[in-house]
């Protein structure tokens, strides 16, 4: 596979495209690429179309067949990721050994980070079209919930990895605030308890949320199934290399919110601030004049006044000479 040519931007548009694609402090939401293997079943086509529909507009769907085995050689997938600026991939393949297999791939810096292989259980699949009701608006952020102890296990397992990948896949863009109207649907993942040898199945259900008035302030929530109904069987898993994972989890400088110092809120709710001044020089302080407190009012100072008079007297004698000097100069 030829490496991608380094494009040198020749106009503002291409420069903007490259800047968008380059690493940034606050990242763009992940774009998902849906593609298929040389053999992939009709069922999987329906499933990938549904996933693509859920993820719009951040999803791209390829229709051509590709001869790729993700868990063995991922270089072509990396090429696709770089060309399309897609950091998530849903790869559909169908073989006798692994029927109806969906591989979810996550990328970091256009290189494969980790992969989860999930097999779709064909009997229980229901598509979006099979539910005859109105769907949620395109592009909304869904509510996500995980049920079952396997997802919460303290030991890193294929299920905890699957939880991380599924969250990344469905969470949508990170926003600061959400419209109350925009909380329309919920994606619910549940995993059965481990019973015997078989690995438990992950159930994915999407529900529309309807709120009804209840006696209290908080509304009563009702769920109505709308979305694709898919049951996944856990397959192989490729975990991330520790250094790559560490790089991927790094937080850039300045991202952590700085706690505002010296600002508090009162009991009443007023915002109170503390200003720190330096040490003040009190010698130049202008105070009220109180004549009675002046130091020169004491007796000791009267003597000084006499001494001052003597000096005045003496001062007369030399003054007589200076006028002459002055006259001489003028002439």
């Amino acid at each position: 596979m030829l490496p991608i040519r380094q494009i040198k931007p020749k106009n503002a548009r291409t420069k903007r495209y490259l800047d968008n694609k380059s690493p940034q402090t606050t990242e763009n939401p992940r774009t998902t690429l849906c593609l298929r293997y040389t053999t992939s079943s009709e069922l999987l086509h329906l499933v990938t179309s549904d996933l693509h529909a859920l993820k719009r507009p951040l999803a791209i769907k390829f229709t051509k067949k590709n001869d790729i085995h993700p868990l063995e050689d991922a270089s072509s997938l990396e090429f696709f990721s770089e060309k399309n600026d897609a950091s998530l991939m849903v790869y559909a393949s169908h073989s006798k050994k692994r029927p109806h297999c969906l591989t979810l791939v996550r990328f970091f810096g256009f290189k494969v980070l980790d992969m989860v292989e999930l097999g779709v259980v064909p009997e229980t699949v229901r598509t979006l079209q099979q539910f005859k009701n109105k769907k949620a608006t395109v592009g909304l952020k869904p509510l996500i919930s995980f049920s079952g102890s396997a997802f919460e296990s303290p030991v890193a397992s294929s299920y905890t990895l699957a939880k991380s990948v599924l969250t990344d896949l469905f969470k949508g863009p990170d926003v600061g605030n959400v419209d109350v109207e925009g909380l329309q649907y919920m994606i619910h993942f549940s995993v059965d308890e481990e019973e015997g040898e078989a690995k438990p199945v992950i159930h994915m259900r999407c529900y529309l949320l309807k709120t009804k008035k209840s006696g209290t302030n908080l509304p009563k929530v009702e769920v109505e199934e709308m979305g694709p109904r898919i049951d996944f069987r856990m397959g192989r898993v490729k975990e991330a290399e520790p250094e790559m994972w560490k790089e991927a989890m790094r937080k850039p400088k300045g991202q952590e919110a700085k706690a505002k110092k010296n600002v508090d809120t009162d009991l009443i709710g007023d915002k109170v601030g503390r200003i720190h001044l330096g040490k003040q020089d009190l010698s130049g302080l202008q105070t009220r004049k109180m004549k009675g407190l002046k130091r020169s009012r004491d007796v000791a100072d009267d003597d000084a006044a006499f001494a001052g008079a003597d000096e005045d007297f003496a001062g007369f004698v030399p003054e007589s000479t200076t006028p002459d000097k002055r006259l001489r100069v003028e002439v």
Partner: protein
């Protein structure tokens, strides 16, 4: 609502996420598909209810100024997910930037085209249509400036002198 859950739910409101660590009720007991779906729907409904309750009670709600819609301010997500691309490297300062920093040279701010005219008491363009530099063009009376006149004559002479030299 009597919620007797053995393990409490945990929430990650930044991701609008709810984690229910309780084991799922066994689906083997459900014989038909419909029953199975009913169990799952019930679990989901409980999660949804808890999550909406948490959202509406814990996050500050405000009315947006643009269209009057109610908005909920979400906190930062707790569950850290891996980045898409590596953290951007610090850009190296160019030779000029280093020099300018050392010398203390700061960039020129754009002044804009308008200049305040004291006489008119208003902002007029520096040049162009009704520009300040064309103010004197429309005067019906122009004083003769002796110095300027003399220079004009020399200039002509100078021109002829130059032409002669060229030959």
């Amino acid at each position: 609502m009597t919620d007797a859950k053995p393990q409490p739910y945990t929430y990650d409101l930044g991701h609008l996420m709810c984690n229910d660590p309780n084991p799922l009720p066994s689906l083997k007991s459900a014989t038909t598909d419909a029953e199975k779906e009913a169990i799952l729907a019930k679990t989901a409904q409980e999660c949804a209810q808890a999550l909406i309750n948490q959202l509406l009670s814990c996050c500050p709600i405000s009315r947006s100024q643009d269209d009057g819609a109610l908005q909920i301010a979400l906190p930062a997500p707790e569950m850290q997910l891996p980045r898409e691309k590596p953290v951007p490297t610090e850009k190296q300062k160019t030779k000029w930037e280093k020099f300018a920093e050392k010398k203390g040279i700061k960039g020129k701010k754009k002044e804009g085209k308008l200049v305040y005219d004291e006489a008119k008491g208003d902002w007029v363009p520096k040049y162009g249509y009704k520009g300040k530099n064309t103010d004197g063009d429309g005067d019906w009376l122009v004083e003769v400036d002796e110095k300027a006149d003399k220079e004009g004559e020399d200039g002509e002479k100078g021109g002829r002198k130059k032409a002669k030299k060229a030959r």
